[in-house]
Symmetry: C2
Subunit: 280 residues, 2 copies
């Protein structure tokens, strides 16, 4: 058992190390999807001895839209891309690079049409004005309704849950969002829950930004097992030590919380205005 685990993990490490060697991306050579299984096979390691359930074949898609919050994607992406055998897609309206709210541009690997029809996981990141624009974009909502209606797990990080809501995917579900936006979930028929990760049937929603890491690791545990997830956590050296204690309104205190809340009043108003003018 120890030997087979080691064989597996060595294959996993080789996959991490070799995944891109043959495909250093250029504009003309944009990697379509991370197929870890292929990378592992290419590494030439015997994987026959590992527990069957440690190797999957999940199709995972992150929605990418203009002004998305990059860390909402790259926290869970680290965790989910560590699922051996999984394919991860970055799906957008076109294959042109998409700029985040902080202006870093990421290259999508698939258009809405190219995205696999039956996903194991669809994950929607948050943002502010960009999320509002995505809510108002018919092609984005049509894509979410379709893939979200079929996906095994329908998930979000931060205000991405508002987009799930706008696509009618949270009606009747318990869910969370960035703490600022959590109460807005009611406008989409969802029941807001003050938890870092909320699971209700096949809906899994994470709280604001950094909650995506806890969200992602919990999905790894769910889809593989605790030993697998421990390995991923140790690889990520995920033993957080925030240098301050201000990560929630309760910890940050009334003054900081009010300041941050005030700055998003226009965003909240715009979301409510969207709900009023769009029937679900």
């Amino acid at each position: 058992m120890a030997v087979s685990k080691r064989d597996f993990l060595w294959a996993f490490a080789s996959g991490l190390a070799t995944a891109s060697t043959s495909r250093i991306a250029t504009a003309a050579d944009n990697p379509v999807a991370a197929d870890n299984a292929t990378a592992h096979a290419a590494a030439g390691h015997d994987m026959a001895g590992m527990p069957a359930h440690w190797h999957g074949s999940e199709e995972i898609a992150f929605l990418i839209y203009p002004q998305f919050t990059a860390l909402d994607v790259f926290g869970p992406h680290y965790m989910l891309a560590s699922l051996m055998g999984a394919k991860v897609h970055f799906v957008a309206k076109t294959r042109e690079p998409v700029a985040s709210d902080f202006k870093v541009a990421v290259v999508p690997t698939a258009t809405f049409d190219q995205c696999p029809k039956n996903l194991d996981i669809i994950c929607v990141p948050g943002g502010s004005n960009g999320t509002l624009a995505a809510m108002r974009d018919k092609a984005t909502i049509t894509f979410l309704k379709d893939r979200g209606g079929r996906a095994k797990l329908v998930t979000s990080v931060c205000t991405g849950s508002l987009l799930l809501g706008a696509a009618g995917l949270l009606d009747g579900y318990r869910a969370t969002s960035h703490w600022l936006a959590r109460e807005l979930l009611r406008d989409f028929g969802a029941e807001p829950v003050d938890q870092r990760v909320v699971v209700d049937r096949n809906r899994i929603t994470g709280a604001g930004v950094t909650a995506g890491i806890d969200f992602g690791l919990s999905i790894v545990k769910q889809l593989r097992d605790e030993d697998y997830a421990k390995t991923v956590q140790l690889l990520a050296e995920y033993q957080p030590e925030p240098p301050l204690d201000a990560g929630t309104p309760g910890r940050a205190g009334a003054s900081t919380t009010k300041l941050v809340s005030d700055m998003f009043v226009p965003f909240m108003d715009e979301v409510r205005s969207f709900v009023r003018t769009n029937s679900r």
Copy 2:
């Protein structure tokens, strides 16, 4: 005072929300750098009342190289991009998209030549095989020696510290790295320290992957103040709740630690071989 703070924060929020509206990236329209000051000014808010030290003009560069670990960049990037007035550059050998170890491609905003000569912060992310290849790449090391020799803060996340070491930038400094690679720092003349973030004069190094978030937030506190950093932490909802307790070798236990260590033996050997064949 409360009013001026609020003005500031509202401007900050507007910057977050509007930073990219005029520049949705396409392949032909790649944002060169996030100039938050411009975005804030464009938002039309009066920022005269805020504390002068809350608005900076830092030039910050992340080194991007093939097979870098994306979360090593996007954790600290969230924090550092929140420094109002700072410009963030993604610097690579060419402006072609660069694929991470998990095959997500990011668009650089500057080449080595285009990167500002005098940086406030240079930050080097980690990886495994890609980091080794970068160590062996003369143009990368030349760039690091030059900008690292002039930068106000010379920083890294994860095995990025090995690259700093290869550029001779950690000789005689206390530093950290991914727990797996920490002892290798001795080969570059550094003194390894088992801490999540290590500060020695102007060298600031973070431990593995997720430590980049703690690293980034601590720099925000250093460059602005505690109130500013609290605001950023609350925006990021950074109140971590790992679903498992295996983030360090001590927490994960001997068995998981040995498995992970074993998978990186070849990487460690290659780094040592690099050191033997390259004089500093």
